[in-house]
Each structure stands twice: as C-alpha cells, then as structure tokens.
Point group: C2
Chain length 347, copies 2
C-alpha cells in the first residue's frame, strides 16, 4: 500500500474490484495492421466501470474519517458505483444527477438505497454546489476529480506496468471526461519513473467525443485553460462533460509529458464499438470505444512504429447502455422450428 494514502486494506469494503485483465487483441492487430495492442479491461469491475477503482479508495477514506454520509455528482456510472460501495459500507448515499440522465442509469444507483436527486440547471454549478451542500450536511461528495478517487485510478496504471513487465507500453489511450481518470493513470507512471523503476513514460493519449471535446479543443488550439463548451451532445453519453473540472491540470500534465488529446466523431465511435465487439468479443460503452477510434486516427497519421506496444483502457461495460445498440442496425431473423433449416442455409 506504500503508493496509496490509506491505513491498510479493508476487505469488508471491497466488492472484488481491480486486477482486471490485460487482454492481447491479436485479431484486431492483424485485421487493421496495428502494432501490438492490449485492452486493459476495466469493464470487469463490480459495477461495470473503472469508477469502482476510485470509489473504493474514497469510501475507505470516508470510513477512516468517521464519515457516514457520502455523495456524488454523476451522469450515471459514478452514481451506480458510489451507491454500491456506500451500501457495502452501510453509509447513506446521495446521488445528484443532471436532469437529462437516463432514468435507467438512476435506477441502477437507486436499487442500492441511494437518495436520487435530478437537478434542473447548470452541471458545472451543480459540481460546486455539491461541496457547499455537503459541508453543511456532513456529506463527503466524492466527485470525479476527488483526490482519493484519483489515487484509486493510479492502481490501473500500476497493474498495466505489472502485467506487461518486463516490456513497457509505448502508448496508453484513455477516454477523457472530467480528466480525473487520465490524471490518475499518468500519476502512476510518473511515480514509477521518479522511483527509478521505469526509464521513461508512455505517451498518453486522451480521447474525447467531438460533440463534447473542451479539453481536445484547448489542446489543439494551444490554450492553457479549458473553456466550457455549449450544448454538448455525443453518443458517448458518459463522457459528455462540458466543463471538466480536471481539464486545466490535465492539459498541463499532457504538455509536460508529450501526451495529447484528440477527438473522434460519433460515427467513428460507433464503428469502433462494433469492431471491438465483433473482432474481440468486447462489448463496451460508446465512451470506451473512443480509445479504438483514437488509435485508428493515430495509425492513419503514420505515428506508430511496428514494434510499438499500445494499451487501450476500456472503461465501461456495454451492458450499461443497451439502447444505444439501436444505432448499430442489427438484424433479427424470425423462424419456426420447421423453417429454421432453410433460414440457416440462407445465412
């Protein structure tokens, strides 16, 4: 635990998060003439996303501090994660959601007994308001850039290092919303480098959806600060964050360490979702598929060398958003037991 700010592990808080597989994507690599690619499969966490990595650390911290009420501001995945770990710890949980958060995403937090509140109004304002309300009511709001969450995301980076060892990754692709996840991953490798364990950092590439890409816009235009984007909208709903609280820090870190942020279209995202599912059996959220779309862009720019090693962090399970599959134009055939033979012969 020497790299983490906790007293020690508390198994009663764990739901079996972490130790996610690093899967070689050999079929993908051959089909698209890519360098060696691995998926760090964060879908295999208890609530189906990388959020659990941060939540367990933040809840641990809450318990150490004697806090009995926790909360989060969420568009979906974070709410489900915080509600699940809060329930496991016997805490009262408050989930504040944007007005347009799909009802089904709220229900998957509510089943754990969390108080669900849909907020009409500005999302950035809500983020700040949650801290004010939290301090008045004794609620620890563990939002997307909570420092203990970020410590939890670091562990994903340490695992990538351990799982590839003695080889090192050249590139790591990560979807970017608030910025907290990528900040945590970069911190892991920066700490390994400072400790003299690795000679250099991988190139970190954050990927946003073009419909909501405030960090990518600031990066490409050379600005030091992220501007709020109006009316965000992309198929990658869980990373539609118009005013990312970690954006400025992330911009600074990426520039210091030769990283980048890129943006991909909804069409590229849906294509990437389909490719991962069809070629490798990985059904992920559109937000997660951005990393493959981003990788294909970098390939098209001719930046990879054949012996590069690339890691795609697949952040969340496709089961959390089945309705989006209506965009994939899948066909369903119909038959009787008697007509089945002829149908199969025709497929």
């Amino acid at each position: 635990m020497e790299f983490l700010p906790l007293s020690g592990a508390d198994e009663s808080l764990s739901l079996g998060e972490g130790d996610s597989p690093l899967l070689p994507l050999i079929r993908l690599q051959h089909k698209f003439e890519l360098p060696s690619v691995w998926a760090k499969d964060e879908m295999l966490n208890p609530t189906g996303s990388f959020k659990d990595r941060g939540t367990v650390v933040a809840v641990h911290r809450a318990k150490d501090s004697g806090v009995r009420k926790i909360g989060t501001v969420s568009t979906g995945n974070m709410g489900a994660s915080t509600a699940a770990y809060g329930a496991r710890a016997g805490m009262q949980v408050f989930v504040l959601a944007k007005e347009d958060t799909p009802r089904e995403k709220l229900l998957s937090a509510g089943v754990h007994g969390a108080h669900l509140v849909q907020i009409r109004g500005d999302y950035g304002e809500l983020f700040l308001e949650s801290y004010r309300v939290g301090s008045r009511h004794g609620i620890y709001f563990m939002n997307s850039t909570d420092p203990f969450r970020i410590e939890g995301y670091k562990i994903i980076g340490f695992e990538i290092y351990e799982q590839l060892r003695p080889r090192l990754p050249h590139y790591i692709f990560v979807p970017v919303s608030s910025g907290g996840h990528l900040i945590g991953l970069m911190k892991a490798f920066i700490e390994l480098s400072r400790a003299g364990i690795i000679p250099s950092l991988p190139v970190f590439i954050g990927v946003q959806a073009q419909g909501c890409s405030p960090i990518a816009q600031a990066f490409s235009s050379g600005r030091a600060r992220v501007s709020r984007v109006p009316a965000p909208g992309s198929v990658a709903q869980s990373i539609n964050n118009p005013s990312p609280p970690g954006g400025n820090l992330l911009l600074h870190m990426l520039r210091e360490h030769d990283g980048a942020v890129t943006a991909v279209t909804d069409e590229e995202i849906l294509t990437a979702q389909r490719i991962l599912a069809r070629e490798e059996g990985l059904f992920c959220l559109p937000a997660s598929a951005t990393v493959l779309a981003g990788m294909l862009k970098i390939r098209d720019e001719g930046r990879f060398r054949p012996d590069d090693r690339v890691v795609l962090v697949i952040t969340g399970s496709g089961f959390k958003n089945i309705p989006v599959l209506e965009h994939q134009a899948l066909s369903i055939h119909s038959a009787t037991p008697a007509s089945l033979d002829a149908l199969i012969a025709s497929l």
Copy 2:
C-alpha cells in the same frame, strides 16, 4: 488442467473469465441473524454471468476440433456469452431465441456479429431441433447442458473450495434453470471427495422461481422425472425454463447427495434482490436473487446451525435487466441548485 478435458489453456480465447471473488456478507449475516455467508460473485465475468465459464471451455473444445461455426439456444445470457467468445475466436455464431426474448437481450448478442433468430413455437422442441440443424450445417450447438459447458461450471466449485480453504462450506445455494450449472458445481465437489481431498460434500440447494419450477415440483412430490410445466412466468426471466434438459439427472444427483430444490415467489425474489443491493452493494438479476430468498426460507425452517458456512452463487449482473427495477418502486427527487439544500435536509 488435470480436472478438465482440454489440451491446455489457450489465452487467445480468454476474455478474463473466472477467479471471481468470494465476498463475505457480514452486514447481511448480522441483519438477518444468519450463519456465515459468502457470495460467489459470478457477475464478475466478461459478459456478466456464469455462462462465460462454460462457454470458454466449449469454444476451446470447438477450436480443438476444428469447428468454425457454433450456436446456442438462449433466453439471453447464454446468447450474449456465446456470441462474445465466438467473436473472440473468430467463429461464426448462431443464436436461437424464444419468441418472447426481450429485444435488448438479443441486441447484446448481435453486437458481436452473431446471427440472431427468434423462433416461434415450443422451446423444448427448439432445443432438440438445434442439434438436428447443427449436424446438417456443421454448427456445434453448445446449449445449457453441453458436457463441456458443465466442465467449465466445475471450476466455480473448485474456486469455492480453494477460496474457503481450510474451511469447507456446509451449504451451497444455486439458481436452477436447465440444471447444467448445479450439475457442474456438484461434479466439482464429488471429484474432490473421490480424490480424497475433502471428507464430505456440502448440501446443495437449487432454487427455482415458483412461476416456473418443474424441478422443485418433481423433487417435492418424490418423482424421478421432471414434467414440463405449462405457461411459465416469473420475474426471474433467465431461469424460466419449462422443460429443463438436465432436470432428471439433477434430481438423481441431489437425492443421492442429500441436496434439495426449493421454489420462491416473485415477491420473495424482488425482496432478496433489494436486500443484496442495499445491504451488500450487490446488484444482481432476479434469477440470481433466488438464492438469498431460498436461504431465508431454510433459515425460517430452522435448519442452520450457528457455525454453518453458506455460499450463495450470484449468477448474473443486474445491469443485464434494468427494466425489472421498475418493480422496486424507487423514488427520484427533483431540485434546482438553489433548492437542493432544503431537499437534502428533508431526506
């Protein structure tokens, strides 16, 4: 691999299945005055259910045999699992589903490129027809009681043994649909017993939903054979199997080894789903929640001793059926940033 009928492990087929956590349920135990309880959390498999354990073994077998086309008859979870592993292996996949299978369950198989066929007509007949069609078209139908699937389910049993060691479980509760899963778990402990590794078997309790409980009915009425039940219907959709192909074998095995099959109501199932989510942070399918409902029944019958150790096998993730949460009567509050403070004070 000595307990498995395979040449060796093939990592290119794996999606990171298995090694699921065995979670102590301490809050549940105290709240409901239970003996020691653990959840074997099979939700933490790549497609969110225990089916992946069997699918990976069957697909491995298919590859060893040079088969390039696979299929399954499914109400949902098995289709998604077979489609994912088939995609990973580069195989053509056929998913045959009952007419009333929810569209969203089919889509999660279709995203992997599987051929989806909805069948009007009898489900039991479809099961047999799949083998006839398969043999004509060179498709290996790996259905619920496929012997290689069952070998995969054995591994869950071996893991429970390893994770509790040196202690042994006294009871293992498992949802029952086709019977294949429980047969596999029992085989694991029978093999451990025959090898002299354990002195006796745990008591296995299969749980069905009262709305579709052909095996429980045969068990309680002392019959040697399972009769088809008409018009099945329960909230536990993924175990609504009116004509379970493994039923007769399972009845025989349970009687030989002092096990039992019980049935629980939809109300008990939904209550159990809520308890697992609220007390322990485990959001599972209604079918999976049957195991807690069954355990509470056995507790009410006074059968547990205080020092018993009980394992509940939680078979599938609740994210695979969010709409069922509409039964849980969850309330969603509404506020503006300005009215949030007053709302939280009132909760």
